[in-house]
Symmetry: C2
Subunit: 212 residues, 2 copies
Amino acid sequence: MEVFFYGLTKQLISLLSTSPFKMNFDLFQTIYCHPKITSDDLSSIMDEHQIINFKKGDYFLEKGKQANEYYLLESGLLRAYVHDFNGNDITIGFQSEGEISIEVSSLFQRMPTEENIVALTDGVAWKISFEDFQKLFHKIEGFREWGRAWMSEQLFISKQRQIEMVTKSATERYEKLINDKPNIIQQVPVRHIASYLGITDTSLSRIRKNIV
Amino acid sequence: MEVFFYGLTKQLISLLSTSPFKMNFDLFQTIYCHPKITSDDLSSIMDEHQIINFKKGDYFLEKGKQANEYYLLESGLLRAYVHDFNGNDITIGFQSEGEISIEVSSLFQRMPTEENIVALTDGVAWKISFEDFQKLFHKIEGFREWGRAWMSEQLFISKQRQIEMVTKSATERYEKLINDKPNIIQQVPVRHIASYLGITDTSLSRIRKNIV
DNA sequence: TAGATTTCCTGTCATATGGCAGGAAAATTC
DNA sequence: GAATTTTCCTGCCATATGACAGGAAATCTA
């Protein structure tokens, strides 16, 4: 009965291409994409997410607090940042549409975070709590395979970025960002892009001049 | 019966403080340390590991190949490195006694690796295959909790390092390495330490001069 | 032990980036 | 719409680091 219901839900959703559900299904299907996640699994997973609307300036996470959920971004743009020892605001990442916003250490190790995550635009996201994630993680084999693969990928990306930070020039890093995430260049203040690239806004300003 | 046997094994091991088993047990207990891993779990986990002896210069992993196991280091020192676009040898990490040597992307995403891992000294390690890991991961809840926590920690460390690479000077990074891993300073050629710190051996040489 | 190789240091010069300050332009506020 | 604030650019100078080359010291090898 449960299985039938979920199967039906899935079919209905995939047919209703003009309804708002269509977008959500695409979002979930894009993010929770793994060979071992079945349609039924995906339905169970989707059921645990709740939609939220957010405004520019809203905080998803603040330093000192504990992350108790993570988010799938349906629309909008987020910025994650920390403060270094001198109190400077260092941007460590951007999340756009179709990506996950999560602070892994705080969420999975149940500890206060160092990160801040703030909305740079209005938008829509789907959130899932730690408890609900836990249930799915231990219940659905495909889900934990997905989770592990996702973490592996993040670790790989993080290491790649490390290597680029020391082997590529600031100009090259900026050009790569233009290439990889062109939307960020337009929507984000220069100083945040600069700190993300590991340089000052002064330098980035010069780099931009030279490229044009 | 099985439970009794494992329980006995554990007791025996912890008593035989002079036997080689004692060291192993400490090693496993240190690494597989998680509130949800029971003594029985730990015994099951230990049973899946095999001891190996390695020599200086032995490769644990080579670029283009696929990682099919990971290692717990009982003794010795390993170096992980990649080649950047210019073919330069960039050290991305060292593993010493009591640490895990693993290439997560290749092992868990079943793909060829970019990394090389080579022994800088002779040593002893315990290895576990991907297949055996998989069995434990899906069988033992505490084990997958541990695995997720371990990955979370690695991701955190990786991000921290990224931040340090851009906010701290080369001298500060070197001083931090002296502090965190003094054994590496003594055992590893300067050029490897330099590339790990993201600088040339020329610069590191000058930094060393200024510190003394 | 002698020769060869590797490792490490140091000198000179070039360059990318930072720090600081001032000012134009744009956005926000009242 | 004027005032204020924020954002961004640019000029000047300082400095950390890189590139390259040469040489001393240590290590390996035969």
